[in-house]
C-alpha cells in the first residue's frame, strides 16, 4: 500500500477509547462492582519453602461475615507426572501457583482464600486459618540453587539423572562451534548477572466474578487475553468454557505478566461456594511478592572473530530463574541473543532453574534482553579490541535474508542492517560528545542491537454495518497500548469513510471468536489482518447489493472512496451508492451487512532494533543519568505512528530501569525486602530524557498493510547499550545489573 495514497493509515487520529481514559470513565479491573458482591482475600505463606501438612479453616469459617473459604483441595489437581499445556503454560504449574498444594514454594505463595462481607472481615478470617507447615531450608539465587547440596524444591525434577533444581535444558545449535572458534583470531568470553525485575504495571490484579444458580459464570477482569482467562479458569475449576463469560476490562498495563491468571479461578470457587458475587483486588505488596517478575539470570557468552571483524563462532550459556515452579523464558536468550548476526557456528544453551521465589511471568520480549545484554556487551569489547567502529562490526555481520537462525527458522526479508545504518548516520551518533564536561562528571556513548521473533496466531474480527450506515468493528484482543486506534485507521482506509464513523470494540468471550493473547508483538499484526479480510468481505457484500439495485453484474461494480460505483461498460450510468444508501436498503436487498473472519495468522517476520545512548556518570555519587536516547527499529508499517513511537519509548524506559535501578532484593529469610514502588525503583519522569524513535517503515510483504510487530524489540538493546555507554564514560566494564550507585562506586573504586 502506497503511503502517499493513504487517508487514514499512518495518521495520528484520536484513539477510540481516549475520551473515557482522560475523564476517568474507562472501566479497569478494579472499577467494576456486582450487586450483592462480597470481598475475597488471600492467605499467603510466611515461609519461602515449607511442606503444607494440613490446613484447618474451621475458625475462619465460624467468623461472622465469612461466606466461603477455598484451599488447594477445591482447585482441580493436575498430577505432577502428566503435562497439560495451555499455550506455553503447563497447568501442573499454574494450578500450584494459583494455590499452593503440596508445598509453599515462596514467601507470599497463596495457601487459602476467604470471601466475606468486607475486606476487613476477610482479612481477619485469613489470620484464623491454621496452616501446619514443615519449614524447609530455602534457596533464592541461581548460583546457590545449582550447587550439589542445594535444597531441592521438587522431587520430580531431575537433571542428568539426579534430583536437581534445573528443570529444563534447551539447546539450540548451528554448525560446529569448536571448529568455528578454531578459526578465530580473537575470542572474548565474559559472564554476566541480571536481577529479576517486575513488569511494573500500575494496575494491580483484580477481578469481580459471579456464579449463577444455573452454573453460569461471569468474570470481569483485565488481562492480556479474555480467552486465556476463560480457558485457565475452566481448567482450574472444572467449569466448561461454554459456561464462562470472560469480559475484558480495560487493562492498566500488563507487559506480558497478565498472560496468566492469579485470582479468577479462586474468586469463581469462592462465588460458587458462597452464592454471592466476589470481588478480589491485590495490594501492590501482593503484586510484587506473588506475581511476575521476569527471570534474573547468570550468563556466559563467548564470541570468536577474525581480525577483519567477521564473527566465526558464538556460544551462550544462560541460567534463568523460574521461581518456585518451572517455566522461565529460555527461548528468549537462547533464540534471540545471536540472531541479529550471520554466524555459521552457534551453540546456545539455556537452563531453567527453580528457587524459592514467585513464579516468573512473561515480560516484554521474554528473556531476550538478558541474552542481548551479554552478547552486545561482548561485541562492544571485541570492537574495542579490534579498533573497529562498533556499528561497523555489526554491519559486517548482519543477518541476511535466507540466512539460517540458531532457533531453526530461515529468515525471509529482514531489515536489521537498516536499523544499524539509521543509527550510524543519525545526528546523535555523529554528534561530538564532551566526555569530561565538569569535575566529577564523565560522559559516554553506547550502542547495542536486539532481536525479537514476533508472532502471528489466532485472531477473530467481526465488522458490522449499522442500520444508519456507520461501522462497528469488534476484535478479541485486549488493547494494551492503542491497538483500537490502529484498527480504526485500517477500517476507515479500507471502507473509504471518515474515521469518526467507526467504533472499535473488544468483544468478550461469548461475543467474538477465539483470539489468542495480546502479547509477543502480535496483536496489531494479526488483528489488522483479520479486520482487513472482514472489510474486504463487507465491501464484496456492498458491491453485490449495489449490483442488485442497478441490475448489473457485481463484477462491474467498484468500491471507491466510501461508495459503490458502476464500472466498465456501465461507468457513469448510475449515481454512486454510499454506505449510508446501501445500509438504508439493506433489509430489502438481502439482510444485514456484516462479516467476520477467524484466522490463524502467519507471516509475522521478526523485529530488529539498534539503539544509541549517551550517559553521564557522577563519579562521586555513582549516579548514572541518561542524557540522550535514540532507538531505530523496523516497524513495517506504522498504522498509527503515535502508538508505535509509544511502544518504542515505553520499552526503552523499561530497559533503562532494568539497566540502572530495578531489582528484586531478598533478605536472608527468603523474603522480598522491597515490595513497594518506593523501594523498587522504576524510572520516574525526572529520571529520563525524551526518547527519540526512528521508525523505519519497510513493509512486511506478508501483511496486507505491511505491519511488523513492534512492542517487544525496544526493550532488548537498552541493557547493553547503557552498559557500553558507561564503559565509554569510565573505561570500566560492568558485568552485573542493575548499574545502581553502590555498584557503580564499587567498580570506580575497584
Amino acid at each position: 500500500m502506497n503511503a502517499i495514497d493513504n487517508k487514514w493509515i499512518g495518521k495520528r487520529t484520536i484513539r477510540p477509547d481516549g475520551a473515557d481514559k482522560v475523564t476517568g470513565r474507562a472501566g479497569y479491573s478494579a472499577d467494576h462492582n456486582m450487586p450483592g458482591q462480597i470481598w475475597g482475600r488471600v492467605l499467603r505463606s510466611p515461609h519461602p519453602h515449607a511442606v503444607i501438612r494440613g490446613i484447618d479453616t474451621s475458625k475462619a469459617e465460624a467468623l461472622p461475615g465469612v461466606k466461603a473459604v477455598v484451599t488447594a483441595k477445591d482447585i482441580v489437581d493436575f498430577p505432577l507426572d502428566k503435562s497439560v499445556m495451555l499455550g506455553i503454560q503447563d497447568m501442573r504449574w499454574m494450578c500450584r501457583n494459583v494455590m499452593a498444594r503440596e508445598k509453599a514454594l515462596f514467601h507470599g505463595h497463596p495457601v487459602a482464600a476467604v470471601a466475606a462481607i468486607s475486606e476487613e472481615v476477610a482479612e481477619a478470617a485469613c489470620k484464623l486459618i491454621e496452616v501446619d507447615y514443615e519449614v524447609l531450608p530455602h534457596v533464592i539465587e541461581i548460583e546457590d540453587a545449582i550447587k550439589p547440596d542445594a535444597p531441592i524444591l521438587h522431587d520430580f525434577v531431575r537433571h542428568e539423572g539426579k534430583p536437581s533444581n534445573i528443570a529444563t535444558t534447551m539447546v539450540n545449535k548451528l554448525g560446529d562451534v569448536e571448529a568455528g572458534f578454531a578459526q578465530a583470531d580473537l575470542i572474548i568470553e565474559r559472564s554476566f548477572k541480571t536481577r529479576p525485575v517486575h513488569q511494573g504495571y500500575i494496575e494491580p490484579h483484580a477481578c469481580t466474578v459471579s456464579y449463577a444458580a444455573d452454573g453460569r459464570v461471569t468474570i470481569w477482569s483485565s488481562s492480556q487475553g479474555q480467552f486465556m482467562v476463560r480457558a485457565m479458569t475452566s481448567l482450574l475449576t472444572g467449569i466448561p468454557q461454554s459456561n464462562i463469560r470472560a469480559i475484558p476490562a480495560e487493562i492498566g498495563g500488563g507487559f506480558g505478566a497478565k498472560t496468566i491468571i492469579y485470582l479468577e479461578p479462586v474468586a469463581v470457587l469462592l462465588a460458587k461456594k458462597s452464592g454471592r458475587p466476589v470481588k478480589m483486588v491485590m495490594s501492590r505488596d501482593e503484586v510484587f511478592r506473588a506475581t511476575g517478575p521476569t527471570s534474573g539470570s547468570m550468563s556466559t557468552v563467548k564470541i570468536g572473530v577474525k581480525n577483519d571483524g567477521t564473527i566465526v563462532a558464538a556460544q551462550g550459556t544462560f541460567y534463568l530463574q523460574a521461581g518456585g515452579l518451572p517455566g522461565s523464558p529460555l527461548r528468549g536468550p537462547v533464540g534471540c541473543s545471536f540472531s541479529p548476526y550471520h554466524i555459521e557456528n552457534v551453540l546456545s544453551v539455556g537452563y531453567d532453574v527453580v528457587s524459592n521465589r514467585s513464579k516468573v511471568a512473561a515480560y516484554r520480549a521474554p528473556g531476550a534482553p538478558l541474552g542481548a545484554y551479554a552478547t552486545e556487551c561482548v561485541l562492544d569489547e571485541i570492537a574495542e579490541k579490534l579498533g573497529m567502529d562498533k556499528l561497523e562490526l555489526r554491519l559486517k555481520n548482519t543477518a541476511k535474508p535466507g540466512g539460517k537462525t540458531v532457533y531453526g527458522a530461515t529468515f525471509g526479508a529482514i531489515t536489521f542492517k537498516e536499523t544499524v545504518e539509521a543509527i550510524k548516520y543519525h545526528p546523535h551518533y555523529t554528534a561530538p560528545l564532551d566526555k569530561n564536561p565538569s569535575k566529577g562528571v564523565v560522559r559516554g556513548r553506547g550502542v547495542a542491537s536486539g532481536f525479537w521473533f514476533n508472532a502471528g496466531g489466532e485472531s477473530s474480527a467481526q465488522l458490522n454495518i449499522t442500520e444508519d450506515g456507520n461501522v462497528n468493528v469488534t476484535t478479541g484482543h485486549p488493547d494494551v497500548g492503542g491497538s483500537r486506534a490502529s484498527i480504526a485507521n485500517v477500517t476507515a482506509e479500507l471502507l473509504g469513510i471518515d474515521h469518526s464513523r467507526i467504533s472499535v470494540l473488544i468483544g468478550d468471550t461469548s461475543s467474538i471468536g477465539f483470539s489468542n493473547l495480546t502479547g509477543g508483538s502480535r496483536v496489531t499484526f494479526a488483528s489488522a489482518m483479520v479486520v482487513t479480510q472482514s472489510a474486504e468481505k463487507v465491501i464484496g457484500q456492498l458491491k453485490e447489493r449495489a449490483a442488485k439495485i442497478w441490475k448489473i453484474d457485481p463484477e462491474a461494480v467498484i468500491w471507491d472512496n466510501g461508495e459503490a460505483r458502476p464500472a466498465g461498460p456501465n461507468a457513469g450510468q448510475f449515481p454512486p451508492l454510499t454506505l449510508k444508501d446501501l445500509a438504508a436498503k439493506a433489509n430489502e436487498m438481502g439482510g444485514p451487512i456484516g462479516a467476520g473472519v477467524q484466522l490463524n495468522t502467519t507471516g509475522a517476520d521478526p523485529g530488529f532494533a539498534t539503539h544509541c545512548v549517551d550517559v553521564e556518570v557522577d563519579v562521586d555519587l555513582g549516579i548514572v543519568r541518561v542524557l540522550r536516547y535514540t532507538a531505530a527499529q523496523d516497524v513495517g508499517r506504522a498504522l498509527h505512528p503515535d502508538y508505535v513511537e509509544g511502544q518504542i519509548q515505553g520499552g526503552v524506559v523499561q530497559g533503562i530501569g532494568w539497566a540502572l535501578s530495578e531489582e528484586y532484593l531478598y533478605n536472608a529469610k527468603g523474603q522480598l525486602d522491597n515490595a513497594s514502588f518506593l523501594d523498587y525503583r522504576m524510572p520516574v519522569c525526572s529520571d529520563v530524557p525524551m526518547i527519540e524513535p526512528i521508525m523505519l517503515e519497510i513493509p512486511n510483504p506478508k501483511h496486507p498493510q505491511g505491519v511488523r510487530g513492534v512492542g517487544e524489540a525496544p526493550i532488548v538493546p537498552p541493557l547493553a547499550a547503557i552498559a557500553n555507554a558507561i564503559h565509554d564514560a569510565l573505561g570500566k566494564r560492568f558485568y552485573s545489573l542493575p548499574m545502581s550507585p553502590p555498584k557503580v562506586l564499587a567498580v570506580i573504586d575497584g
Binding site: 495520528r12 484520536i14 484513539r15 477509547d17 481516549g18 475520551a19 481514559k21 482522560v22 475523564t23 476517568g24 470513565r25 474507562a26 472501566g27 479497569y28 478494579a30 472499577d31 513488569q199 511494573g200 504495571y201 500500575i202 494496575e203 494491580p204 480495560e250 487493562i251 492498566g252 498495563g253 500488563g254 507487559f255 483486588v281 495490594s283 501492590r284 494494551v480 497500548g481 492503542g482 503515535d642 502508538y643 513511537e645 509509544g646 519509548q649 515505553g650 520499552g651 526503552v652 524506559v653 523499561q654 513497594s676 514502588f677 518506593l678 522504576m682 524510572p683 520516574v684 519522569c685 525526572s686 529520571d687 529520563v688 525524551m690 526518547i691
Partner: protein
C-alpha cells in the same frame, strides 16, 4: 466502631458520606461514592494514580483519611472536564497520544493541571520534576511531557 458522618464538597457538589475512621479518601471515592476515576496503584503514595486536589493542593487520596475532609473542597478527575468540554490538558493528551493503557492518566492529568495553575510557563525540567510523583510504565513519559508543555503554551496564548 460507629461510622463517621462527613460533609464535604466534591467537584463543586455538596457531598455527604459515612466512613470508618480507618478508611482512606480514595477508598470512599471509589467504593462509596462511585468515583472510580481515581485509581489505586499502590496505596502508599508512591504512584500518584489516585491524585486529587484538597483545597486546591495536589494530594494522593490514598494518604488522606476520609474522616478528615469534612468542610474541605475536593476535586477529582471526574471534575476536570466541564460537561462534554474537555480541559485543554485532556484534549491535548488525546491529540498527542500521551497515554497508552491509561491507568495513570487521571493522576497525571490532575498533577499536570495543578502544575499549570502554579506555573503557567514550566520548563521541561520543571514538568519532569513536578510529575516525578506519577508513575507511568507505558509511555516512557516522552509524550506526556510534550503534551503538558504544548498545553501550557496554548493556554498562555489563549489567555
Amino acid at each position: 466502631m460507629a461510622k463517621l458522618h462527613v460533609t464535604t464538597t466534591i467537584n463543586g457538589e455538596p457531598t455527604e458520606f459515612l466512613c470508618d475512621p480507618s478508611q482512606s479518601m480514595l477508598d470512599v471515592l471509589r467504593n462509596s461514592l462511585g468515583l472510580t476515576g481515581s485509581k489505586e496503584g499502590c496505596g502508599t503514595g508512591d504512584c500518584g494514580s489516585c491524585s486529587i486536589t484538597l483545597d486546591g493542593r495536589l494530594t494522593c487520596s490514598c494518604l488522606v483519611l476520609a474522616a478528615e475532609v469534612g468542610g474541605h473542597e475536593i476535586t477529582t478527575i471526574e471534575g476536570m472536564a466541564q460537561g462534554d468540554e474537555l480541559h485543554p490538558l485532556q484534549q491535548k493528551f488525546l491529540e498527542m497520544a500521551a497515554l497508552q493503557c491509561g491507568i495513570c492518566t487521571p493522576g497525571v492529568l490532575m498533577a499536570a493541571r495543578s502544575l499549570l495553575e502554579k506555573n503557567p510557563e514550566p520548563t521541561e525540567t520543571e514538568v519532569r520534576f513536578w510529575l516525578a510523583g506519577n508513575l507511568c510504565r507505558c509511555t516512557g513519559y516522552d509524550k506526556i511531557v510534550r503534551a503538558v508543555l504544548e498545553t501550557a503554551a496554548e493556554m498562555r496564548s489563549a489567555a
